[in-house]
């Protein structure tokens, strides 16, 4: 019996080593670096500096993330619902193909694409001008916070929709049919039968999107203009410009906390749903 336990330990050793070496060690090292001086003493100076210089950017990041996630939830649920419930099958299968395209386009390509599309004299505004809907003086540049949100939503929409469509397709068909037989409208089926059953999946999709959005550097660099900007840009700037890993790690700690806050909120919610709290 004992020997089989040690065998099992050996079995997980390579994977555990990988996780420890390439994930846990860097994670704890960066947390450690955020709250210590070069000499190794504990300090809050880095965190203070991070808040002093970048509190606006932290707030900006939270707003961008929340706005993107809310838009993502609304859009991806609508598309998933259309795909699952719509009676027009051929149009829906076309939609099912189109919404997946952003999955295969990297963030940096999306950002570059949107930069030429959303600029003041970019493709979108030029199209409006050519079609007579706007005059050149009325055009507005979307490069800035709105552009950042557009890019994040555009890119993450495919991923979220994929997860949510999958969850919807896995629901028990008989419930939907039963509801329909009793005369429920499609909207009612969506809100009262389907959504309550797939909230965990929606939560997962939103949290994964949040983490992705927090970590993307190329989009705020290419679409955002100056200040305020997102935390990732500030971290890169601290390292590239000052070689200052401490404050960069302090900012990293702040992003962990934001993600952890959302994750906590979600876990609490899902436990509550299961009646644990």
């Amino acid at each position: 019996m004992r020997s089989s336990t040690s065998y099992n330990l050996w079995l997980i050793a390579p994977a555990a080593l990988m996780v420890g070496l390439f994930f846990l060690y860097p994670l704890f090292f960066s947390l450690y670096s955020a709250i210590t001086t070069d000499e190794g003493g504990l300090t809050l100076a880095h965190l203070e500096k991070a808040f002093e210089l970048y509190s606006n950017d932290i707030l900006f990041t939270i707003i961008i993330v929340l706005a993107s996630v809310v838009l993502l939830a609304i859009l991806s649920i609508s598309i998933a619902a259309l795909i699952t419930l719509s009676p027009f099958r051929s149009i829906v299968s076309l939609l099912g193909f189109i919404y997946r395209i952003p999955l295969f386009i990297p963030f940096i390509v999306t950002a570059q694409m949107m930069r030429t599309f959303l600029a003041k004299n970019g493709l979108m505004n030029n199209a409006f001008i050519a079609s007579g809907m706007l005059t050149p003086l009325e055009t507005v540049s979307f490069l800035g916070w709105s552009g950042i949100i557009i890019v994040f939503v555009w890119k993450q929409l495919a991923f979220c929709t994929l997860l949510i469509t999958g969850a919807m397709a896995a629901l028990d068909e008989s419930q939907i049919r039963a509801a329909r037989n009793l005369g429920a409208s499609r909207l009612r089926i969506l809100f009262q039968i389907m959504l309550p059953q797939i909230t965990p999946t929606i939560g997962v999709a939103m949290i994964l999107s949040t983490v992705t959005i927090m970590s993307v550097l190329s989009v705020p660099l290419m679409i955002g203009t100056g200040t305020p900007t997102m935390i990732a840009t500030d971290m890169a700037f601290r390292i590239n410009s000052y070689g200052d890993y401490h404050v960069a790690n302090a900012l990293g700690l702040v992003s962990y906390l934001i993600c952890a806050g959302l994750a906590w909120f979600y876990l609490r919610q899902s436990l509550k749903d299961k009646g644990a709290i």
């Binding site: 210089l53 003041k120 203009t225 900007t229 590239n240 410009s241």
Partner: protein, 382 residues
């Protein structure tokens, strides 16, 4: 008998193959910081030239990315190799920015090689001796010199501003028509802000030389608050290329750019010919890139020969000035003879040599530079 001949024939063919490998096995590792254009310069221009004159040597070029960050990676790699006590470091030639070049000399990572190469005497300018307060005499050869200036659309602006004061006035009359990229999205914006401090904070000469005086930075509050007010009248752009992009699309009419990028874009037709440059008083910073060779480079002699070739007058003329529109790294008079008049005139058409010597400044020494950037973050963008 027949089999024996066959074996011998095969073996000799095999040997020739092998000896070929042995020959090509000398690899000269060139590591370059800076944008893709710098990597391309070494890869497409210098490396084939060097391989042709040195049979059996293969130049292996690695780019580490733009800005001081790219140079910083080279510094980190070399100091790691030094600290681990390696005998041979796997970087033979490095191309680094001015600030990091100075740090490398301070950390004892570089070889003092300038007196070993023939072209060493062709450089007399200050930036080959002094890298933002660090004495680098003998350790570096400038590859090229780069400069920032204000680009403007001459179709709309007949009399461009000649100084920061005039520029401020111009932005008040033409709100949102001037654009720059802040300090987090590329060096042209950093350079503009540095020039602002030279104009309204402390003069360039003080900030570009040691010793560092901590109290100077505290006197910049007024300059920063004026910059904050200035920022309300302008458009922010997304990066060095972003400024040029917006100039091209007519979204802004004026903005700070790198001179070499500006000329390259103009050559490729990516910005209209009506774009012109103006170097405004009291001056904007520029910087050299340095060729350096580490103290324990594996191929020390080859590295010296490589740098000698790269800083020879004809390579500087053809490669640096003509192909890439950079200002030459070695003294200009040595390069002028190797260039046709038109190319020479183009390089100095909009910014005259006298403007350049009068208003082309260095970046400040590292601690002042950090003060400027952090002051901007604290008082302007916060």
């Amino acid at each position: 008998m027949l089999t024996k001949t066959k074996i011998i024939a095969l073996a000799s063919i095999g040997l020739t193959q092998f000896s070929g490998y042995v020959h090509a096995d000398t690899r000269l590792n060139v590591v370059s910081a800076g944008g893709q254009n710098m990597v391309d310069y070494v890869k497409t221009y210098l490396a084939p030239k060097f391989e042709a004159s040195h049979p059996g040597v293969k130049v292996n070029i690695v780019g580490t990315g733009p800005g001081d960050a790219g140079s910083h990676k080279i510094l980190e790699k070399l100091s790691a190799q030094k600290n681990s006590g390696l005998e041979n470091w796997d970087v033979d030639v490095a191309v680094v920015h001015q600030k990091i070049g100075g740090e490398m000399v301070t950390d004892g990572l570089l070889a003092k090689y300038r007196s070993d190469i023939k072209t060493g005497t062709l450089v007399t300018r200050d930036s080959a001796e002094n890298a933002l307060g660090v004495n680098v005499n003998g350790y570096v050869m400038p590859m090229f010199h780069s400069q920032t200036a204000i680009a403007y659309n001459s179709d709309f602006i007949k009399t461009p501003p000649k100084s920061y004061d005039e520029l401020v006035k111009w932005t008040q009359d033409n709100p949102k028509a001037f654009g720059y990229n802040g300090i987090k999205n590329g060096m042209s914006g950093v350079s503009f802000v540095t020039g602002w401090i030279y104009a309204y904070g402390t003069e360039a000469a003080t900030l570009s030389s040691t010793p560092y005086n901590k109290d100077i930075a505290t006197s910049w509050d007024k300059a920063f608050s004026e910059l904050k007010a200035f920022n309300k009248n302008i458009t922010f752009t997304p990066g060095n290329a972003g400024t040029l992009d917006m100039l091209n699309r007519g979204e802004i009419f004026m903005g700070p750019v790198w001179v070499d990028m500006f000329y390259s874009w103009k050559d490729q037709g990516k910005i209209p010919p009506s774009m012109k440059l103006s170097l405004i008083a009291p001056g904007m910073p520029g910087q050299p890139m340095y060729y350096v060779t580490p103290a324990k480079a594996e191929n020390a002699q080859l590295a010296r020969e490589f740098i000698e070739m790269a800083t020879s007058p004809d390579v500087q003329a053809e490669g640096i000035v003509k192909r890439f529109n950079w200002y030459p790294g070695i003294d200009a008079q040595h390069v002028q003879g190797n260039l046709d008049k038109a190319t020479w005139a183009k390089l100095f058409a909009e910014i005259t040599p006298s403007d350049l010597s009068q208003y082309g400044k260095s970046f400040p020494i590292a601690p002042y530079f950090d003060d400027i950037k952090e002051g901007y973050e604290r008082k302007v963008s916060n």
